[in-house]
């Protein structure tokens, strides 16, 4: 059992850690956290259930069960990771297991925004570079240091220029990824917008 993970707060610029590689395209959020674990009113205990069914099927051989990955924090995936359900429980479960950043070929849209909203940067790399990392991880430990400002990842043997959406990069560096207070700063604009919308007049207070 891992020690309790504290969710990130404030500016996020550098992260480093051991990589854990999970091979497969179209890994959906039902697999990351099966629906039965959604019966909860907080996210605190989700970490231990991450990939529960896949792990049971592989009987200890799933990357999230291997001893050498126990303290890994950078997840390496393939394409369309996190497709399917909008459940934020999926990135929450990954985060509470210990994942701080994800590098993959592509991410599903809702999963990506959920990761941004809870402070997990998702970077993309071309398929070839990912295969290179995943092959490396087969034999050796890969300890990556990520510099978000330069979108660069370095290690003893491998270096990569990472891609990340510019808006996400800026939000992590400024701390605005935790969006509520930034959004609230525009309270006047929000109220003006509310009044201007044509349909508010004919739908407001109907219920």
């Amino acid at each position: 059992m891992k020690s309790k993970i504290t969710p990130p707060i404030g500016k996020i610029s550098n992260m480093s850690g051991r990589c854990i590689s999970l091979i497969g395209n179209d890994i959906d959020t039902d697999r990351i956290i099966p629906a039965r674990f959604l019966k909860c009113v907080n996210f605190d205990s989700l970490g231990e259930s991450v990939f529960e069914d896949d792990r049971k099927t592989l009987k200890g051989k799933h990357p999230f069960d291997l001893e050498e990955n126990k303290n890994a924090s950078i997840l390496i995936v393939n394409s369309n990771f996190g497709c399917g359900s909008s459940r934020e429980h999926a990135p929450q479960a990954l985060m509470r297991w210990g994942i701080k950043a994800i590098i993959g070929e592509s991410f599903a849209d809702i999963f990506y925004s959920n990761c941004i909203a809870i402070g997990i940067p998702c970077f993309t790399l071309p398929k070839k570079s990912l295969e290179e990392i995943q092959n490396y991880c087969n034999n050796k430990f890969l300890f990556l240091e990520i510099d978000l400002k330069k979108s660069f990842a370095k290690s003893k043997d491998l270096n990569f220029n990472l891609e990340i959406k510019e808006s996400s990069r800026k939000m992590f560096l400024s701390g605005e990824w935790d969006a509520t207070s930034t959004l609230l700063e525009n309270e006047n604009l929000i109220e003006n917008k509310f009044i201007q919308l044509p349909y508010i007049k004919f739908t407001n207070n109907l219920l």
């Binding site: 009113v41 800026k170 109907l206």
Partner: protein, 468 residues
């Protein structure tokens, strides 16, 4: 970059500001919540000492965890009871209108909002559920959000989001007999792939789309997300307007005329520019069934499960996983695959027209002895209407169990689950590994009519053999 499409017009209308990072702050006109993805959002409001900014713009119902056999309270499942109680308390505390069980308006959130006339053209709609894209059928821009964004909508009525690109999917001709909206959308996802829609909103258009009823259009938009598109929409037309007219929350009297003029101005037109356009021939679509573990892995009823060498390099990895998980052999026919469970329901195909179509197939027929079949109406309204039409009786007479409304075995958060490696013929939207409640359960997605045909024969069948 797209210009002058409905998506552009509605997005621009709702844009509150450009945020420092470069994304847009978007006003959410209608916020829908349910018991599963909202409790942590309300918890976060409490932690931050914030109020719900526009409580009248949020509507709640309960759908994911509700039992469909016995709905008396407290629920047998303590965790489910705790979740509904939390929602009840949060709605009470924040003065949010809540359609609870027994209200006459409870049901799957994406079935309920259109029924009430809440879903209207030109709105921005968000909900902590990926199938929020359903509401795009009315010419709204609607998308799923996570719990942190639910928190943001509650606190500010806005979210931070990057504008999507727009791909038009033009569907020529018409669907042939025995082929339904579900077949069309499965076909589209198969053609384009499950990740083609990442970063895009899908505009579904063309004669085949115009020809669809509003409920069929909802089926199409509902599954946009299965093609990777967070948002899918259809330009509003006379069918849209007449569906909304006289609904509980529809604009009334002089507001109706104003609304109509505005709605008509929103459509994409000949000046619209798209980031991408795809054309396909709807008349070529046949009854379609999934064989794998993603909604993109489908074939028409008379086709064989693809051989590995016939697939693109990108599709091979998941195909191998699918053969193994589903215990299917490449080259095998999907037709005549025995099924154990038949499920009709969900936000994709749990509306009254879906039940009518299935009932027509089932009338005077019996469900195979080897099959457990059940139907879960999408809402209390759907259930009432079905009872008035005698449809519930047709289902019961055939051997289907008639259940109470909810999401049920689409995602199996209640007690409706597959057991072991059972095969289900399901009118729902996802055939992911373990999706229907058993870690080794197998799901074949198809139209409700095809589920009815499978229930009668006890195996995957061509519904066209059942209809005149």
């Amino acid at each position: 970059m797209s210009q002058d499409t409905l998506f552009d017009k509605v997005w621009d209308l709702h844009k509150v500001s450009s945020l420092p990072g470069g994304s847009d702050q978007l006003f959410i006109g209608l916020h829908l919540i349910h018991e599963v993805t909202s409790p942590q959002a309300f918890g976060a409001l409490k932690d931050k000492n914030l109020k719900v900014k526009f409580p009248e713009r949020t509507i709640a119902t309960v759908d994911h965890i509700v039992p469909t056999d016995n709905q008396s309270r407290p629920f047998k499942d303590n965790l489910a009871e705790q979740m509904i109680k939390t929602l009840e308390m949060n709605c009470l505390e924040h003065k949010i209108r809540f359609f609870n069980i027994g209200s006459g308006n409870q049901g799957i959130v994406h079935v309920v909002a259109p029924e009430l006339g809440l879903t209207q053209p030109g709105m921005s709609i968000a909900c902590g559920d990926s199938h929020t894209s359903t509401h795009g059928a009315f010419g709204a821009i609607a998308f799923g959000i996570g719990t942190s964004q639910v928190r943001d909508v509650l606190a500010t009525q806005t979210i931070a989001m990057n504008k999507l690109k727009v791909r038009q999917i033009w569907c020529d001709n018409k669907l042939s007999k025995g082929v339904y909206a579900k077949d069309l959308v499965l076909h589209i996802i198969n053609e384009l792939g499950v990740k083609a829609g990442v970063g895009f909103a899908y505009e579904f258009a063309g004669p085949a789309i115009d020809d669809l009823s509003m409920e069929e259009r909802m089926t199409i938009c509902n599954m946009s997300i299965e093609g990777g598109a967070r948002c899918g929409y259809i330009n509003p037309d006379e069918k849209t307007f007449s569906y909304i007219k006289n609904k509980l929350c529809a604009p009334k009297n002089e507001h109706w005329d104003k609304a109509l003029t505005w709605w008509k101005s929103l459509k994409s037109n000949e000046n619209s520019i798209y980031d991408d356009v795809i054309k396909l021939d709807a008349s070529k679509v046949e009854p379609t069934v999934t064989w794998g573990i993603t909604p993109g892995q489908s074939i028409s009823i008379n086709q064989q499960i693809p051989l590995l060498e016939d697939l693109s390099p990108n599709d091979k990895l998941v195909a191998k996983e699918a053969y193994e998980y589903m215990s299917f052999k490449p080259g095998q026919s999907i037709k005549d695959t025995p099924v154990d469970v038949c499920f009709i329901g969900s936000c994709t195909n749990g509306r009254i027209s879906d039940l009518r179509v299935a009932a027509k197939v089932l009338k005077d027929k019996k469900v195979s002895k080897n099959v457990k079949a059940f139907v879960v109406p999408g809402s209390e309204k759907v259930a009432t209407e079905a009872k008035q039409e005698g449809i519930d009786q047709i289902f019961k007479d055939s051997g289907f169990q008639w259940r109470e409304p909810g999401c049920s075995m689409c995602l199996a958060m209640n007690s409706d689950k597959l057991i072991g490696n059972q095969v289900s013929a399901s009118s729902s939207n996802r055939n992911f590994k373990g999706r229907q409640g058993s870690p080794s359960g197998r799901t074949l997605l198809m139209s409700p009519a095809m589920v009815a045909a499978a229930a009668i024969n006890g195996k995957v069948s061509d519904v066209r053999e059942f209809i005149d």
